[in-house]
Each structure stands twice: as structure tokens, then as C-alpha cells.
Symmetry: C2
Subunit: 456 residues, 2 copies
Amino acid sequence: MSLQTVLDTIDQSLPEATDRLLDLLRIPSISTDPAFKGDCDRAADWLVEDLKTIGFEAAKRPTPGHPMVVAHAGTEGPHILFYGHYDVQPVDPLNLWHREPFDPQIEDTAKGRVIRGRGSADDKGQLMTFIEACRAWKAVHGTLPGRITIFLEGEEESGSPSLIPFMRAHAEELRSDIALICDTGMFDARTPAIVTMLRGLAKVELTVHAANKDLHSGMFGGPAMNPIRVLTKILGGLHDDKGRVTVPGFYDDVEELPDAIRQQWQSLPFDHAGFLGDVDLSVPAGEVDRTPLEQIWSRPTAEINGIWGGYTGAGFKTVLPAEAHAKISFRLVSKMDPDKINAAFQSWFEAQLPADCTVEFKDVNGSPASVMEIGDPAFEKARAALSEEWGTEAAYVGAGGSIPIAGYFKEILGMDAMLIGFGRDDDQMHSPNEKYDMESFHKGIRSWARVLEKLT
Amino acid sequence: MSLQTVLDTIDQSLPEATDRLLDLLRIPSISTDPAFKGDCDRAADWLVEDLKTIGFEAAKRPTPGHPMVVAHAGTEGPHILFYGHYDVQPVDPLNLWHREPFDPQIEDTAKGRVIRGRGSADDKGQLMTFIEACRAWKAVHGTLPGRITIFLEGEEESGSPSLIPFMRAHAEELRSDIALICDTGMFDARTPAIVTMLRGLAKVELTVHAANKDLHSGMFGGPAMNPIRVLTKILGGLHDDKGRVTVPGFYDDVEELPDAIRQQWQSLPFDHAGFLGDVDLSVPAGEVDRTPLEQIWSRPTAEINGIWGGYTGAGFKTVLPAEAHAKISFRLVSKMDPDKINAAFQSWFEAQLPADCTVEFKDVNGSPASVMEIGDPAFEKARAALSEEWGTEAAYVGAGGSIPIAGYFKEILGMDAMLIGFGRDDDQMHSPNEKYDMESFHKGIRSWARVLEKLT
């Protein structure tokens, strides 16, 4: 039977596929918060059961954290590994959601039909595009194409602490001809993309300590050092007036973009004004001598992702707190080493601490940037499949987000990884009111059917 | 009957007096948090009932916020007004309390017996010293001395929004020969004090807005402005390297201390090293050319009392938040005008905002500093009474905290106010594990009996 029959099956069964996704979205699998441990487990169980129904030998595999889901099918032909993650981001600030984050629904919007709910785009909707393509293929052909391993993680949003040990321990089982990763976006609403450059991430949480207890600002205000003052003073100097990060050595391992890549990017129809305009911003906040596209795809950043200290409730409390806190992350590019960056930041911070203050660092970790080798013919085959489905030339692009798994596949399993995804810029991943376009879901499933046909 | 009989009665009935205080401390009358509105009301009812038992005509008097308690006794002789407040500070961070804040108990510590619980020192324990002195006087004499008005507020810890309107509306009822205010401390553990200079307070809460929603730092990190970065950048410049506040015009209305007062202060046995050493600090954080005592009593400050933004829960979230927040307060001295200071701060802040960011200010209010006229003979009479009770010369001192009521008595009712209190530096007012020394409570009651005897 033909690819067309598979595509037709996908079209006809879209309502059922959507219902399955909604089921999965109802499970609040927030990996970073221990309160949701049972829900992460439940999401893994749901996926195992679903994969079994389409002929996979699927199992939940324990780790010291949340379980992996590993599923295998087929015994001959090219061996393809598919990676996705079933965990999701926290939902706060909850008051900015228009509906319950874990009560997903289909909504008709000015820009088309969307699936609304936490995890719809990142990454449950995306991973289900591949599973649904497999389901349709199986329904038409009676078997799955080639050999397929599905490898789903439950800790992607909390730093993937169990991933490397698990990959090391099960390297033989996981090693394949190529890895497909569905956790990225389209170049724009019409142009599919394969990501070949990904930024890395280094992160750290810190606490500044001053007095041994909270103090009354009437009694102690003046002589007693306020750790929030120290924190704002130091972090307020993290960027200079040109948008550059001031930590010494921060740019040492940042390589300039090859001219060929820069020219390709410059030819992309990237709407610099619209990109920021969509979120009510207009002036790029990064390095002043770089375009926004370069800032996102090829330049490192330092961001304060959270800050807190003192009294933050209703009303007022004239307190000088004993401590103040921040969560900081760095997006890394080219050869930047996360350990080296974290160490440089910590030294920079400590050197500025006044007498009487100390700092504690915790949750220090990170992963380097990834640059894919696009010489493998699979890249051009996949690009052709995507171009056919979307009726427009698919692009090789960079991505600002960190998907450490791509680097690990290369480093630990010696495999190339191909990052193909159908997310859009306005999906509000990690934000309130996350959504996934129905078109992304539908044509995403169809795209994978085409990719599988070309690769197997 | 003699004063000695009243003092003996106080000594004998201390256990019952302590039990009454513990009862009052069990009511969580946190005025700043609407969740405790009913408890504030309950504390007011408790006081009305108690005052009635010692012969006061007492009533709970409504305001748009928490009620006032007003009680009157006597028809002839000097008219004394006593002020205190029955509301207390919030209790967070709750995890730093060694026991439930509203389950008070008597504890024996290395420094003596203490009453532990939120409000024990600020201000329930202090206001009850006066009420217990009245009770003992009544028990011995059958009547209260002179004419006494007791005026208790329930919004002192949340900016006293109803106080001025209430005083204006009931000026005739409240106007007396002198006001006694019990919300201050001893100079040191052995030396009683009358406060003649009090710092004022200006405060404001602000929110910096950037993008129209929370953003993913992978997708937007670089080009999108992070409001936490803006907040730390601006607030990090609130103090210069000499500990001075950088807001233009901040010091315009700050007068230098008269030489006579500075000399008196310099002769006080203030343990500068010990003051900071007790809270594990060593280097004064205020203006470098001022002693810690001057910094607390006679110099203005700017403090960040709270800061929050982005993800502050367990784990990590690589978010660029849409907004970031801070609560700022200023301690004011001499002729500084709270409205002028708040306006100067807001202009200073707004002038530094980058394009694409806006700031909202709310809860902007304040009260000026107070300087008492100690020419009134009542001051020397009270100082003599205190010196007799404590066996050491009582001191005229300044105070770092803001007790706006003192200024209002002068401004609205044309009365002088005398601030006498028995708190100690280590009482942990506004902090976890607040306590009030049993000696403060006991000798505080005795002190008021002596003061009443001299003034009536």
C-alpha cells in the first residue's frame, strides 16, 4: 500500500488522535516539583500502554528520578530512535491562565484551531505526532517500518539528571542508525525546519546571607547590610551598556559564525520587528552589534530566571531579611563549557560580596551547545519529506533553546541526531496558556509518515 | 494608700497578668493580611472586655479598616491619653520559628525568663504593661488616677490608614494634657529611655513590566528584555559606594544633629560592635562617615524590603517573566517630606527604565519624622519615675523605627507625646521568635504605676 493510504488514514483518524493527546495532557507531569512525582509516573504508564496497542514492546524503566519509557518494534531495516519527553513545565503564575492548565481543550482562535493546555507544544503534542504516524503506518501496513526505538524521558524540564547514566547503562539497546528528536519548532508558520545548532545551558541557584535573622528596618536600617541590596547591586552589573555579559572570560570560547551560515540566515525571511512586536517589545536587549536572529541562535546569554527575598505578600513589612535568592541561567554557544561558565560566574559573584555577606550556590549544572553534522544523507531525505508535506522548502536553522539530548546522542552513543518539530513562536511554551496548533499536530503526524517512508 | 501598695499588688498578681497577656497573644491579629481580619476584630473585643473589668467605659469603634478601641475613666485631674496597638506583624518565614508564633509560652533562657510569641514585644506586651498598672491602681485605690483615655489601634503594622481620619473625627474626645505611647525600647537592658526623636517612613511597591507574557529563555533569551534584569540594574544603583542613597534631592531636607545632642549620644555607652555582632554582622552598611547610632537615630535610609519575580519554586524554570516586583521603604529624618521622597524615587526610577519597559507604583504612602519638645515638665517627671524604678538614670534617646502616631498627636490634637517602652534590642520584633522579657513586662507595669503617680 502506498504512503498516500497512510496519509489518508491519518486524516481520517485525526479526531481520535486528538482525544488521545487530550488524555495525556490531563496528567500534570511537572517534573521539577516533587509534589507531582506520582503524575509523572502516571504519564509514563499511559505512554507504555498506548505504545503496546500499536505493537511496541514497551516498558517503564526506573531511574533514581522519574522513569524512562523505552519501546522497540521491528527486527530488520534501518534502525531509527525517536526521542521526546513526557514531563512539562510548572504552571505558575496560575492567575495568568485563561483556563485550568491541565484541563486541555480545542479552541478556535483568530489564527486557527489550537490545542490549549500545559505540555500541548512542549512536548506531549510533539511526541504524539510521531506515535500517531506509527499508529497509522501500522494500521495500513500491519507492521511498523524498519526498526524503531522510542525513548521518552520524564526529566527534560528539570535538567535530565538521570539521562546520561541511563544512556550509558543501556547504550547497546539504544544505539541506532539515527536519532529523531521532536522538541523544536518551525522556522515560521509555513516553513518547516531542521535544527542544526542548539544553544547549551548552564544554571545555578544562589542565596546571599547577611544577618543571622530577619531584622526590623527601623531598629537596624542603616547599619545592617540588606542582602537584597547586595543581590541587586551584583546582579545589576551582570550586563554592560552594550548588552554584553560582564563575567570575565564569558566570551572566551564563543566562535564567530561561519560566513556561509550567516549568509544563509540573513536570507531567511525572519521578521525581526514582528518577532519582538508579538510580545509587545521593540528594542532587542542582547548585544547591540548582533541581529535578534544571531542573538537567539548563535550568541550566549545570562538571565535571571527568578529572584526573591524579604516580604512578598500582601501589604508591607519593613523587614531587612537574613537572605535573598536568585536563579540564574546562561545560554551557551559553540565551545563554551558549562562548568567553566558556572565557575567564572561564581568567582565573579563572590569577588563582589561585601564583608559580612556569604553566598551559597546550589543546583549547579549544565550542558554544552550542539552543532549537527548535516553531511549524513538522512538530513537531505528528511528535508525533502518536510518540503513535500508543507509545500515549501524546509530550512536548516539554529535554535535558542537547549536540548542537551542531541549532544548526548553524539557523545555517548556516537549517533547523529535530527531535530524536527512543529512548534510555533506563539505557542507560549513555558508560559501561561501554552497551545499547539491543530495544523502542527495534523501535518506533524503526516510529516513523520513521509520521513519514515524516506528513511526506511 | 501608698504607691508601695500598688507596686506590691503588681508583684503579687504578676502570674495572672502574664496569663492575660498570653490570652491576647493567642489571637493572630495580623493587620496587613486580609485573611486575619476576623482575628483583628477578636483582639479588639478582648481588649474592650478586659478594660471594662477595671472600670473603663470601653468600646470598639469602627473604621473602614480594623476597629479602634477607645476607653475612658475618671472625670477630674490631669487628662492622660495612652496609645498602643493590638495588631501584629506577619509571621513568615514560618520555618524559622522554633514554635507556633501564636501559641505563646514562658521560656527560661540564658538571659532570663521571656514571653515568646508574635506580638509579645510589639506591641501587645507593651500595651498590657499600662493596662496592668491601671488594674493594680484600681485594686488598691478603688479608682483610676486622674482622667485616663486608652486609645488602641489595629492598623499600626499596615500603615495606619484609618488613624488620621479617626483622630480628626474624634479630636475633642481624644485631646488630653499629654499622650503616653508604649511602643519603644530601653536604651539597653538596664537603662530605661524616653524617645525624643523618631524616624519617619515613606514606602512604595513597584512592578516593572516588559513583554506581554512570560517567555521561554531559549526562544527569546537575548533579544527580549528581562524585567528582573531591569529591576536589579536600577535598584542596584540605589546606594553609592559610600552607603549614601543616590536618589537626587534625597538629603535636601536632612538637618545635621545639634552638637549638644550629638555629644549626649556620644556619651551613651552604646556598644557599636556588639549591636551588629549580635546579629553576626560587623561592618556598618550605612553612610561611611556616620556612627551606627547616628545611622539608626538621625540618618535616612532606603531599603528593599521585598523583591520577587520569575520562577521561585523548587527546581528550575528557564523563564523570562513578564514582570518583576519590589517593595521599597525609606526611613526619614528631620524635615524630610514623605511625598517628596516618594516622588523623587519614582522619577529617579522611571528615568532609568529602558525602552519597552513600564513601571507601576502602588501603596505609596508615608509619614514624616517626629522630634519631641522636652520642655514640658511631664518629661522630667516621667524620667524621674523611670530612674527610680530601674535604679539608673533614664536617657533621652532617638529611635530608628517609625511611630507616626507621635507626630499626629502634635499635628492633629496639638498634644505632646512621650514615648516610653521596655522593649530590648534582642526582642526580634518583626522577626521569627519574637519575645518580651518577663523583666520588661514586670518592671514595665511598675514603671507606669510610678509615672501615673507623678503625673496625676
